[in-house]
Symmetry: C3
Subunit: 141 residues, 3 copies
């Protein structure tokens, strides 16, 4: 195994995947609790919030993976992994907040947004530098 | 082209992507059959099951890609690709079962879950070994 | 930073991720305009079309990433990135068309489909060549 593999990014990816799987499980439990059989996705407000918060996670997850890996590879792996951890914490806050009340999803939402924006910024800077380096033989730093 | 590229993982990714595209096509055909125009996603039970089973595939697909690639790169590529094939078979069983009856999705579901858990286990072991190797100069095996 | 990294694929990934984030933002604005509080996803036809078009993007996004990266790495990076750009343009046409009228989503849809099929074809050819090269010591070209 090459020791130059981005192991921290891989670890953060697996961790976030497990977290997503756990949230899918919670939707399943909510189905059982409120006796809502698939394929129905409507029911009591609490179930609909639980379902919706998982869907929001699903929507954002590929975007998270893209910014995590590009920022980690083109900018800084350790920093990207730390911000990735922040994202997972924000996701958890979003989930537990949203289940209780629609408004309470906001703190987690801002943390998630913040993590995504930082990773996106890191990735953009890294990619532009790498692009200039590769195609124009220009080194900025 | 470097012959050290993870070609089996790439092949399994393309195969699963085609399979996902095919299932999206089946949802489109089900729309036509039941005359349900987008953006509506409700209708006869058969259409709703077809729609829902595709959505379940969409929810799980990024997680599958993460565990497929991390297990293949950090643990064993051939084994990961084989379990990936098992996942696609399970996905197909889930789809065809679910369309007929909600209960009949279960055998495919357990196969999918099994494949994901095996890949997740492989990835975790591989990542931990690689992490110890890279950051602590410790070799377990 | 190794200058052999697939920087064009990374750039196209970040660009498409930003585009997805922007479309999610448009759904949020549509929620505000039509006063539809989460977790509800039903309402006036215009909101439902906006919501649905974003969901369609979410469904296809992981498939796009798979075919973009596999075609770029196993076949041709520059060509894959250009077709990736075509995909983003198609996605935007699909979105703006669909919001106005369900039928108007079709030109964008065909462009998106076309981009996906080209990338899929490139990836398949590249992977088969790479596979024969790696496992059977056969070189086609």
């Amino acid at each position: 195994m090459g020791s130059d593999l981005p192991v921290l990014l891989a670890a953060m990816s697996i961790l976030s995947a497990l977290h997503m799987g756990f949230q899918a499980r919670l939707v399943g439990w909510s189905r059982m609790k409120h006796k809502i059989l698939p394929p129905s996705v409507t029911g009591p407000a609490e179930f609909e919030r639980t379902f919706r918060t998982h869907q929001n996670g699903v929507e954002l997850y590929p975007i998270f993976l893209v910014v995590l890996w590009t920022s980690g590879i083109f900018c800084n792996e350790v920093l990207a992994a730390l911000v990735g951890l922040l994202y997972i914490v924000g996701r958890e806050m979003y989930f537990t907040g949203y289940i209780n009340e629609t408004k309470k999803r906001l703190p987690g939402f801002y943390l998630v947004l913040c993590a995504i924006l930082i990773l996106c910024r890191m990735a953009s800077v890294g990619i532009i530098q790498s692009f200039l380096d590769k195609y124009h033989d220009i080194k900025l730093f």
